[in-house]
């Protein structure tokens, strides 16, 4: 691509629009990971596999049973909520009791085991075939130089809606307040009568539901197959680090930024080099600002 094209306002606008769409996708993927990390401190490396299960649920509800797509997305969220609750109760809570002080690193390794199990079970059950659902919404939006399919606009709309819903839930609902209290000071929260174990279970369930929802919604771009979660989990981790570990709104803003930066950088470099750039960006942020771009608090160092 010619560099001079970058000066063309029409192209700039189109690339910006594409970047925002891409960023919305990243935000959807990263929201659940960020929530679980922020509240529990657990880095869930099997996040991409929860995304994958969401995609399969979507495929069976819309592609096989022929129900309308919003039901598929809702089913993915509900199924993954139940699955997340089950995982937290059986595995993560058990580890928390047995591993003691430094349980978070062990929890990370535990989720690696979960990843291996889920991915290969999916391979056994469904094979390597990609199972997609063609365009959920037809049509294309055209405004001057900006051309975006309605499907992508719908993804942006859902991402915004999910972001707002999550924000108001955490901010205003009783459960949301209890969740915030637990993340700030688990000991004090417990003293005030909050059942921390229950909070962790709900948090993991909601985080998993968000992963499932994004897996369902993005099925036309990421058709269901056993290793589909690889790309989403890397992008999610990148957003979570850039935004500040555990800072959900930070992660969403970082997702948008990353989307736009990647869209612009596609002028200069191939998709492969973009992966290098994303990795280097994350490394640089971890060196100079380990608490993320938008955080005022300091992370534990030394």
């Amino acid at each position: 691509m010619e560099l001079s094209l970058l000066l063309d306002p029409g192209i700039l606008a189109q690339v910006l629009a594409q970047g925002l769409v891409r960023g919305s996708m990243y935000a959807l993927m990263a929201a659940g990971l960020s929530l679980i990390f922020g509240i529990m401190g657990v880095k869930n490396f099997s996040h991409g596999e929860l995304f994958m299960i969401g995609a399969y649920v979507m495929f069976f509800v819309t592609g096989v049973m022929g129900l309308p797509w919003p039901m598929g997305v809702a089913a993915a969220a509900v199924v993954l909520f139940g699955f997340g609750v089950l995982i937290e109760r059986t595995l993560i809570a058990t580890l928390r009791k047995r591993a003691g002080r430094d349980w978070l690193l062990d929890a990370f390794v535990l989720t690696i085991g979960m990843l291996v199990v889920m991915q290969n079970l999916a391979l056994i059950l469904f094979g390597t075939e990609r199972r997609g659902v063609g365009g959920l919404v037809d049509g294309t939006f055209v405004y001057g130089p900006i051309i975006i399919t309605y499907e992508r606009m719908m993804i942006v709309a859902v991402a915004v809606a999910v972001g707002l819903a999550l924000w108001s839930f955490i901010r205003y609902s009783d459960l949301g307040k209890a969740i915030r209290a637990t993340s700030q000071d688990p000991g004090a929260a417990q003293t005030l009568g909050i059942d921390i174990q229950r909070i962790y279970t709900y948090t993991f369930g909601i985080g998993a539901a968000l992963a499932g929802l994004s897996g369902g919604l993005l099925i036309s771009l990421f058709p269901a197959h056993p290793t589909v979660g690889f790309y989403p989990v890397i992008k999610s981790i990148a957003c979570v680090i850039l935004g500040g570990l555990g800072n959900i709104s930070g992660a969403i803003i970082a997702a948008m930024l990353l989307g736009v930066v990647e869209a612009y950088s596609s002028f200069f470099m191939s998709g492969g080099w973009q992966n290098v750039m994303t990795a280097v960006l994350v490394i640089v942020i971890l060196i100079v600002r380990p608490s993320g771009l938008f955080s005022s608090s300091k992370v534990e160092r030394a």
């Binding site: 199990v117 056994i124 994350v282 060196i287």
Partner: protein, 326 residues
């Protein structure tokens, strides 16, 4: 078992000094002579894989088990060693024998740099940082096909004959004995290291960083030592791997997160902070994997479930069984 009562008591003939020497002799004899006596290429390959993966896991254990540093981009470090030696012989006709050293030194250098930028962080942050370092290495290799042949695959020459020993890959037994020699050197060095004052410092780091610091231990310095030394040995193993396996490509299975997970599983199943546990676990897991080839992806399901089981219920791994066998 005649020793059953004795075993539960934790003393007696089975646990005597003489019996322990005998056990070591038997195990070493099996390790050295079993492949020669059976002389079957398929079995030799399994032995090579087990020793190779066991060594990679033991080096990983030096970081996670002794100093609490999780290098989640480990496969990227192996790739540095592998590609340094392979590209050296491919482009510049540097002897693969020298490659064992250049691969190790280059990886130690990268490990040192990674250590410098990582050591201000701790715990999970180290895992995140090293993960992206590993991915950056892998993607850089796959994006420079003119030099590394990227995903097309780089074909690597075998070791040239030395002292009249044939390393043409026609006789795999020689590759087996090569990895045994490397293994003896590496395990000896690691063993010496963890028994020295370095080992004590590493363990202090793992147990309580703050306390170690307030006792006047320079934690940063020892983290850097640990990381650089482990990277050097990882690079040596990567270089060996390259010339044994004969074709390299930077896929997630070979030099990405899946390989790291495979090695991490061996270390955790063997028992963190034991070094030898990794070797036993590698023989067990690789042997299992080969024996149950027919199970296909179920093997990996079992691997993952095993890792979960170890994390939850058998936190010492195989090393928890030591009291019965040692």
């Amino acid at each position: 078992m005649t020793n059953e009562t004795v075993m539960t008591a934790g003393s007696g003939v089975w646990h005597s000094h003489g019996a322990r020497i005998l056990k070591i002799v038997v195990l070493l004899a099996l390790l050295v002579f079993a492949p020669t006596l059976i002389d079957n290429d398929y079995l030799t390959r399994i032995f090579i894989s087990a020793v190779m993966m066991g060594l990679m896991a033991a080096i990983f254990d030096l970081m996670i088990g002794y100093a609490g540093l999780i290098n989640f981009g480990y496969a990227g470090f192996l790739a540095i060693g592998a590609y340094t030696s392979a590209l050296g012989s491919f482009h510049y006709s540097i002897s693969p024998w020298l490659g064992l050293l250049t691969g190790g030194l280059m990886t130690a250098f990268i490990g040192f740099l990674a250590g410098v930028i990582t050591l201000r962080l701790r715990g999970l942050y180290i895992a995140l940082m090293t993960f992206f370092v590993g991915e950056a290495i892998r993607f850089t290799i796959s994006n420079t096909p003119d030099f590394t042949r990227g995903m097309l695959g780089l074909s690597v020459p075998p070791y040239p004959d030395i002292l009249g020993i044939d390393f043409s890959r026609g006789d795999l037994l020689n590759y087996y004995y090569l990895v045994l020699v490397l293994g003896a050197i590496i395990m000896g060095s690691l063993w010496w290291l963890v028994k020295s004052r370095f080992g004590l410092a590493f363990e202090a780091l793992r147990e309580d960083q703050l306390a170690s610091q307030s006792m006047g231990l320079n934690t940063t310095k020892y983290k850097l030592y640990n990381f650089t030394i482990a990277s050097f040995f990882a690079g040596v193993m990567g270089a060996y791997y390259a010339h044994y396996i004969s074709i390299l490509s930077p896929t997630p299975e070979e030099f990405g997160v899946y390989r790291t997970v495979e090695i991490l599983t061996i270390t955790y199943v063997g028992g963190r902070g034991t070094l030898w546990g990794s070797i036993f676990a590698a023989f067990l897991l690789i042997g299992f994997q080969e024996y149950f080839r027919g199970l296909g992806p179920w093997r990996l399901v079992i691997f993952g479930a095993l890792l979960i089981f170890v994390m939850l219920f058998a936190r010492k791994g195989l090393a928890g069984l030591k009291k019965y066998f040692w």
